[in-house]
């Protein structure tokens, strides 16, 4: 872990969508680093025999899932206007990865130490009533892991579920487990996971949701 005290950090929120959702988390980091180099962003390299740059992210997204709420920190050599950073980097990124917002600042804690909660939107196809879904709200396992559940039903047997869930606490929700559970509530019930979208990530303190940007100094 880098100790980022006094270091210039550019924190940015970005998306991972379209075909890029099929690349792994490590591949995504490599892709961002190469884009940063092409965009000639003044990156800070560690000293030493083999200088390394540090791009840290929070909580890997599974291959095949999409996101409009990814976050990363990069340590810079000198200050840079966030809008300029955003524009220059976006020029170098493939379709599907887009810098949505950037803020420059400093932080003594890493993203994965600050973020503890994520908002997801999952799309399910089903052949039953929304009512059945209401049941999940009553199960202990999910009561502990899902908050603010909102269920929306589209007419063609498609359900959209929005919820918040803790992340990085060792108490994370396994979405595949969740689907398995849904399908076991009633035997004839069949839910198929169509899409997972990470909408955003936050620091949850009590009832407050703080944006990772607001945690920068």
């Amino acid at each position: 872990m880098v100790r980022n005290i006094n270091k210039i950090i550019m924190r940015f929120r970005f998306s991972k969508q379209n075909d890029i959702k099929y690349i792994s988390h490590l591949d995504l980091i490599t892709l961002l680093i190469r884009a940063l180099r092409r965009a000639k962003i003044p990156i800070h390299y560690s000293r030493g025999y083999h200088p390394k740059l540090k791009l840290s992210t929070a909580f890997a997204l599974k291959v095949g899932w999409e996101s409009i709420g990814e976050y990363a920190d990069i340590v810079l050599k000198k200050k840079l206007l966030p809008d300029l950073f955003k524009e220059r980097l976006n020029n170098q990124l493939p379709e599907g990865v887009e810098i949505l917002k950037a803020i420059c600042g400093s932080s003594s804690k890493s993203l994965s130490n600050q973020i503890n909660c994520a908002k997801y939107q999952i799309t399910l196809s089903h052949y039953h009533k929304k009512k059945e879904l209401e049941k999940i709200k009553k199960v202990q396992y999910f009561r502990e892991r899902l908050f603010n559940i909102k269920i929306r039903e589209l007419n063609n047997n498609i359900l959209i579920l929005n919820f918040l869930t803790p992340i990085g606490s060792g108490n994370d929700l396994d979405i595949n487990d969740f689907i398995k559970f849904l399908n076991s509530i009633k035997n004839e019930l069949r839910f198929i996971l169509k899409r997972v979208l990470r909408v955003n990530m936050y620091r949850k303190e009590g009832d407050f949701l703080l944006s990772p940007f607001s945690l920068l100094k």
Binding site: D19, Y22, L26, D27, A35, Y49, P94
Partner: protein, 627 residues
């Protein structure tokens, strides 16, 4: 009316991209099938005069690490009228999905069935990918045998180091491109564009292309055999050349100017910016196919390399470059090049790596100069255990070079080293095996002496041992390969002698090597066995976990191929070889002399040090040697 999808009216077809999502949601590493990488090119194939698919018969992560793919991709796509797209072997899970959903093999760029292109060109790196080629054709719904392919199918061609003995693959490939492809690939596309426009039939187009230098059309060659199985004669039809001479490319600077490497979105084997600083090697190791087929040495101009790297890093964002060639430290301006690179790259924190280091202290000095990554260690190839056997194979390194090299490695802070050795070489004796053991023990001693105690736990000596596999066009093309049971005995012996916990042995499968030996010097009859092997499920044969010796031996038996006749038989001095139709430029006489000198333990110097030794290349190209 039925409109046949011929080469000519293909442009009128309504080409629809394949929906790949139902496939890739269910496979591992889906990123390798999506394309769309940085610097890849999208053109409308309907608007191009001729279209080609570059097919690599192995996984994406391997194919994309091959410079050949990048070079040809750039040259063809930089040509306004032509388009080239890529395809790689899908892994087994993907193949299963494709077969279940009845989806044909498609290109990465437009996701069109590869059947829709005018030319399908395979890059063949080695023999153990032959079954993958048949499998790719089959997945593309293209008949594997040339004779079964009508006008609606692409022209199937192949090139690369693996086609210098084209015979085992000759029934499946319409024509082979021998030697460097940079220039000739454009000539081929031009011919195709012109002739299909004129309404020529595919067979006519192939015949016309057969007139271009370096093109081998197997259909026009007949092979007659003796009753004992050896070749009796080769009859050439029409006016085709008795010997197809390889093409030699010299104008590197030309395409360098516009070279843009595709940057993969997913990790590949050589994940860095590769620059070919030199092609060919004149050291003259007698076992080495690459040394034989890539002669003569052609160096790239230093200025042009520096420019290529500067532009390349800017348009790829790579953080590492690799200066590749068969023997990078032999590049005449290597010192100057590295010093310049160090200076130019000091701000951008780009790592430099030099693969294929010669086993001497000079190499270690260079590795130090560029600050080569310490973690991965350095790799060298002493090849043999004794000076005598090193003279047999004409590997110009002395024992002292090896030990000085190793001492330099450990004293300058590396803790890992990898050494390559070969077993089963001609004239090998027990002393040679003992020699390997004593070299390794000495390496261990040097490491103990040089590496500080607190770092000793990190020391790792990796030893790769592979059986010698005789290849066509080399001085050892006459030699019979050692039998697997002998090789295995030798391996057991080495194992029993190399017990240190610091030594990590990696041993190449002797049976795989035997199959490779059959294919490497096989004739046209061997093709039947390849077909049967593929039908019985052989693919990814170079992958240890996928290789099946049983399937191969069964296939050889069914095709009436005697393994030992091809792999282990000593050839007669005047035997006609199946690859006699192909010329690397070297005289047969030269190779034969080298072979005889080898048996006597006599060495031949590098022509760059002593001047031309008349290997034959001088007849087809002016070798630029400066002594």
């Amino acid at each position: 009316m039925v409109i046949k999808n011929t080469l000519k009216n293909k442009s009128k077809m309504n080409l629809k991209p394949i929906n790949i999502y139902p496939l890739i949601n269910k496979v591992r590493k889906p990123a390798q099938y999506i394309g769309g990488e940085l610097n890849c090119v999208h053109k409308d194939i309907k608007k191009c005069k001729a279209s080609m698919i570059l097919a690599f018969p192995d996984l994406y992560e391997i194919g994309m690490s091959s410079m050949a793919i990048h070079i040809l991709y750039n040259i063809i796509n930089n040509h306004p009228g032509f388009v080239v797209e890529r395809v790689f072997s899908p892994w087994l899970d993907m193949e299963e999905q494709m077969r279940t959903l009845n989806i044909p093999l498609f290109s990465l760029e437009s996701r069109l069935p590869i059947k829709e292109f005018d030319i399908l060109g395979f890059s063949i790196q080695h023999e153990l990918c032959f079954t993958n080629i048949l499998n790719m054709l089959n997945l593309a719904k293209i008949p594997i045998n040339s004779k079964d392919r009508g006008e609606e199918y692409p022209i199937i061609i192949a090139g690369g180091p693996g086609v210098f003995n084209p015979e085992p693959m000759s029934p499946f490939i319409d024509f082979f491109v021998i030697g460097d492809g940079e220039k000739v690939v454009i000539e081929i596309l031009k011919k195709v564009a012109k002739l299909k426009n004129k309404g020529f039939k595919k067979t006519e187009i192939i015949k016309e292309i057969g007139q271009i230098d370096g093109i081998y059309v197997p259909e026009y060659y007949d092979f007659i055999y003796e009753t004992d199985g050896r070749l009796k004669e080769i009859n050439v039809k029409n006016s085709f050349p008795k010997k197809v001479v390889k093409n030699i490319y010299t104008d590197f600077d030309n395409y360098n100017k516009s070279m843009k490497l595709i940057v993969p979105n997913t990790k590949i084997v050589h994940d860095r910016f590769g620059v070919e600083i030199m092609r060919g090697c004149s050291r003259g190791c007698r076992f080495c196919l690459a040394g034989s087929i890539y002669k003569p040495v052609r160096e790239q101009n230093t200025k042009s390399i520096l420019k290529l790297i500067k532009d390349g890093l800017a348009n790829t964002g790579y953080g590492e470059i690799s200066l590749s060639s068969l023997s990078s430290t032999d590049y005449s301006q290597i010192d100057y090049l590295l010093k310049n690179l160090r200076r130019n790259l000091s701000d951008s924190h780009v790592a430099i790596s030099l693969p294929s280091l010669r086993c001497d202290s000079f190499s270690v000095k260079l590795a130090n100069l560029i600050g080569q990554e310490r973690k991965t260690g350095l790799t060298f190839a002493p090849e043999t255990g004794t000076q005598r056997l090193r003279d047999v194979i004409n590997k110009d390194i002395k024992d002292e070079d090896i030990f000085e090299c190793i001492r330099a490695v450990f004293s300058s802070g590396w803790e890992k080293i990898k050494l390559y050795f070969m077993i089963g070489l001609p004239t090998e004796k027990k002393e040679d095996l003992d020699g390997i053991v004593s070299i390794i023990n000495r390496v261990l001693k040097i490491a103990k002496y040089e590496v500080p105690k607190n770092k000793w736990h990190r020391v790792k000596i990796n030893i790769n041992i592979s059986p010698f596999c005789p290849k066509s066009h080399t001085p050892f093309q006459w030699v019979g390969q050692d039998l697997p049971e002998n090789l295995n005995r030798k391996i057991d012996y080495l194992r029993s002698k190399l017990k240190s916990k610091k030594i990590f042995l990696k041993i190449h499968d002797t049976k795989m090597s035997q199959v490779e030996a059959v294919l490497a010097r096989g004739d046209r009859r061997v093709s039947k066995a390849i077909e049967i092997a593929w039908e019985s499920g052989c693919k990814f044969d170079s992958w240890t976990e996928k290789f099946s010796y049983d399937r191969w031996t069964t296939a050889f038996k069914k095709a009436n191929i005697n393994i030992q006749f091809y792999a282990n038989r000593q050839r007669d001095d005047d035997e006609i070889f199946p690859w006699e139709t192909i010329s690397t430029g070297q005289y047969r006489k030269f190779l034969f002399n080298e072979y005889k000198k080898a048996l006597k333990g006599k060495t031949t110097p590098d022509c760059r040090f002593v001047g031309c030794i008349n290997c034959g290349l001088q007849e087809i190209i002016k070798c630029n040697i400066k002594i």
